[in-house]
Amino acid sequence: MKGFVRKQVVVFAVLVLALSVSPFSSAQAADAIKIGGLFELTGFLAPIGKDARQGAMVAIEQAGGTLMGRPLEFITEDSATDVPTSMDKMRKLVEVNKVRIIVGPIFGGSQDAMGGYADKMRVPVITIPSGQNSNILKNKWTFSAAGTDESNGYPMGVYAAEKLGYKTATTIGSDFEAGHEFIRGFALGFESKGGKILQQQWYPPGTTNMIPYLVAAKNKADCLVTWWPGRDAFAGFKQYQELNIKMPIVQPEDGGITGNPVANKHLGNAVVGAHSTVLYSYLAKTTGNKEFVAAYKKKYGVLPSPLAGAGYVSTQIAMEAIKKAGPDSSQKELKKALIGLKMDTIHGPLNFNQWRIATYTTPIVKISPELVPEIVAQYRVISEVVNGKIKYSLED
């Protein structure tokens, strides 16, 4: 019986250890300034999530690891492109690491889900790349560092109607919420300039054969509006080229592909001539862009993708806000600082309005025969909430 008791004690001890061992008990400098980063390092957004994180790291390095003489801690987590995981990791960042502000994530689902929690805990979330309307309207601590999905889609609509002179458009989009919002944004811009949407198609996730949708568009519009993110773009562009569709492609957002020279290399000449709104272009002639591109290239050996740029900017915003509010400020002051923020970034002059939606310079690129996304136009979209809906207009 004695032996048995001893055994039980051992079992008990082991289980206790197993449960109570926590990897986060590493002692952290008491007065350190803590910023959390939440990036899609695994899951279906993994490629662009990595870029965003790399961009963020460059921003931190440029800050030299300190902020106003205080040690700067940038704690990043993998959200796994998965809402539950994002929630867990955010809880951990906020309640364990006690971060003051969070950069990321990219995945709209995660942003939306985290918003409510962010409000509860009064932790600002600087999203990459862009918040969704529902998210912005609902969650008072979520900041869209790169506008909303609609505000990103908007300028392409204007450009297509005004500069490219298209009268009619037909759309093909991935049946994800983000897809619906980008294309709605395009439609708003396009119709505001007298354009007309003839037909809208949504393809289910995991569609590898885009031809049924491409042929259904029947070449009957002036342009083909597509939002096919990530690997869908590979099927999309290749089969668009194969069918020799007459309608030129315009993208209300590049889906993490066409704005990225690396991706274009993988895609080949199928993308040449396509127009696309990108969050950021490494060719942009904006303040500090040269330095950023240089630093990024030096660190990672490739040109920064749009998401890398967005990650960089969002992180800068986080640091700038803390500077402005002061290291020992309350969360409320931090939020105020963010709303009043005005800074010159690689996104051009950037500021948040009272609805926490950033106004910044959105480049529109055209893919050159050398597969370079060359900037052909730049717009600044102003988003305002008018009785529960977001209205868009162009800054002149």
Partner: protein, 327 residues
Amino acid sequence: MKFNKGQLLVFTPAAVLVIILVVAPAWVDISILSLLTKILIFGLLAMSLDVVFGYIGLWSFCHAALFGVAAYANGILISRFDITNFFLVAPLSILAAAVAAAFLAWIALRMSGIYFLLITLALGQMIFSVAFVWRKITGGSQGLINIPYPDIGIDFSSAGFYYFTLIITLLCGIALHRFLKSPFGYSLQGIRENETRMIALGFNTWRHKFIAFVVSGAFAGMAGILYTHYNGIIMPRGVDMAASGLIVIMVLIGGAGTLWGGLIGAGVIYMLSYYVSLVTPERWPLILGACFVAAVIFARGGIYPQLCRLWNRVITPKSGPANPEEG
């Protein structure tokens, strides 16, 4: 069932584990607590699956979908119709899951074995597709978001919700345990062992399977309700065949036909996933896959029976026969 000291000893690990779970919030940090909550929820789901999977031997591949039906019902009632009272919403959601289960069973019980697996897989994907396409109600790919903690009159901390989950999971577990120990529960084992004989003995086996599937679906629904409150969100991604597959894996790793094995399986999978993806997120799938293979090679029949055998050896110097029913 003679009740001697040995019998009592059999229960000690369970008791110890429960005690640990009860005092856990005192030591562990928030993310571990959240992890434990998740394990309890999916443990309950796995246990509900085991009723049909392990005890009848119906290889259901749609339990994430049944779980999803209740989760969505819960989310829709709360976020679309502002009916928040837990004691009103939960029964309705469970009812939804049970009805869905009844319908699926009515179709799927024409098959058995691998074909039952296939048709339930397809039916589950149907439910997933509806959740994905019907944007007005289900919120499409984004699902339903910002679902608050259950409204039972007190407001929850994450620890509070952990206890809420713990209590419900244990109660459901005990209920299922009793259910499986009842004449009806045994009849399910009888069907697994020898259906023809059961018929010849006067059992209407179709009805037994049908009822069992509905019961199982209802408990899966309970897990789904807890899940929406735990996550504050339910998305199609969470109810597709990959999710169903993971639940099956939990049951198999824990030990099919052992009820509590489901809880163990969920624990193993999520503990691993948590700690591994801290070390090397990119390699997590590799290790997960390796675990499946290892489970088959080293823990055939599941971990839980192995543990029971081990414990029996501990408490009886001359190793008596393992008794996986206890624990």
